[in-house]
Symmetry: C2
DNA sequence: CTCCCCTTTTGAACATGTTCAAAATTGAGT
DNA sequence: ACTCAATTTTGAACATGTTCAAAAGGGGAG
């Protein structure tokens, strides 16, 4: 009975995500989720192998929202700076309701065994989806990014985004204003640095950075 | 009886750290630690408020070893590159026995509530101790680092070290060779980048980077 | 309708981190 | 040596993530 089954699964997920948002990670016990959804504990486990799996459910949803919002905002934007800024702010917008939950999310995600982990393995679905968002921001830019960098830039930006997300987790300022400021300040620095790549001395170091980055990943 | 008390505490810590090393974080249960030390579970909790506290004990010890080893190795080294390389490799040496435990350590440390967390709050003791190691590497260098950077460089390097440590956690190559390569490749890039700081265009961007970094931390 | 197999659901049981009231031990003062 | 308050130790109890054998439900073949 696919219909009823899918309904139960969705119900459990919805209750879990709402509780994550409203009362945080630790207070959201599997028993509470089950009770809230009107099912037994074992039934919740029939659909989600672990509490971490529910975190992944959240991750996937946040990711999808980020992609959608970024895609939408990027419509009218041409230059790389604006596109990047829009992409990063879109990410922060989507994460905002989960801020109190952020630290636990990071702690969960960072385990190599976590299905959410963006670093582990090579091409996690999670990482690919996130990367695609930055690839879109870079590829649609005009003027385009320096040819030499175009292949690696999305991955580097994505890595930077992970850093920004980490900063965001610890940002206790109201509505995480500091992270917003960080984004606004960092984006112009990135675009300006890119134009420095033409200076011969800088270019040489850049070559070596890219070389190292590629050799390490190999 | 301070002596006996200290002895018990030390015993519990020793057993815990050995088990962390030998069987990993999850398999090292509080019951197993207590049994191994020949005390009751409650007694272990009398000395360590939580399992995380035992992780901190490990962190403090690793930190101290790193500081000692770095200090020792730095004796004969003059130029910043060598000093940095020695400092980073010393860190990897000290962490090596705990590699299998690394991911759990990171997951524990990254929680804002963790006593080990290097980012949370302002001047965690842990962070200060770690920073001091890099300050020593920078301050003793000749030729000295660019004046403009001297104040911020240790903190930036420390941040880079956190990144390297994260890379190390996920490094599945034998004896974490890739991380060693990363260190060896990244250090020359850093020193060469520092010398680029004299180029006017680069210098201007650098000023802005430092300005942003300071305004965000304020 | 009945039987049978597959999916779904249940709830008790287990492992582990943590708490706590009570017991045991200790050391100083007499 | 005795007393007593503080320190140390104990082990049972609790909360929570997770497992699992058994029960319930559902739908197609006969």
């Amino acid at each position: 009975m696919t219909a009823k089954s899918e309904q139960t699964r969705q119900l459990v997920a919805d209750v879990a995500l709402r509780m994550f948002r409203e009362v945080g990670f630790e207070k959201t016990t599997m028993r509470a989720i089950a009770a809230g959804a009107g099912v037994s504990v074992g039934n919740a486990y029939y659909y989600f192998a672990s509490k971490d799996d529910l975190v992944q459910e959240l991750y996937v949803q946040v990711q999808a929202e980020h992609a959608a919002k970024a895609h939408e905002t990027l419509e009218g934007l041409k230059d790389l700076g604006s596109r990047l800024k829009a992409t990063l702010h879109a990410g922060l917008d989507v994460m905002a309701p989960y801020h109190r939950f952020g630290a636990d999310f990071v702690a969960t995600a960072i385990r190599p065994t976590s299905p959410v982990n963006p670093f582990a393995g090579e091409s996690t679905a999670a990482r690919e989806a996130s990367l695609a968002i930055f690839r879109a921001a870079v590829e649609g830019a005009s003027p385009p990014a320096p040819k030499k960098l175009r292949a690696d830039l999305p991955e580097l930006l994505w890595l930077g985004y992970m850093g920004i997300a980490l900063f965001w987790v610890y940002d206790t300022s109201e509505d995480q204003r500091r992270t917003r400021k960080l984004v606004d300040g960092v984006v112009p620095l990135i675009t300006r640095s890119l134009s420095l790549a033409r200076i011969p001395g800088v270019n040489k170091v850049l070559d070596d950075v890219l070389g190292l980055s590629r050799s390490i990943r190999a």
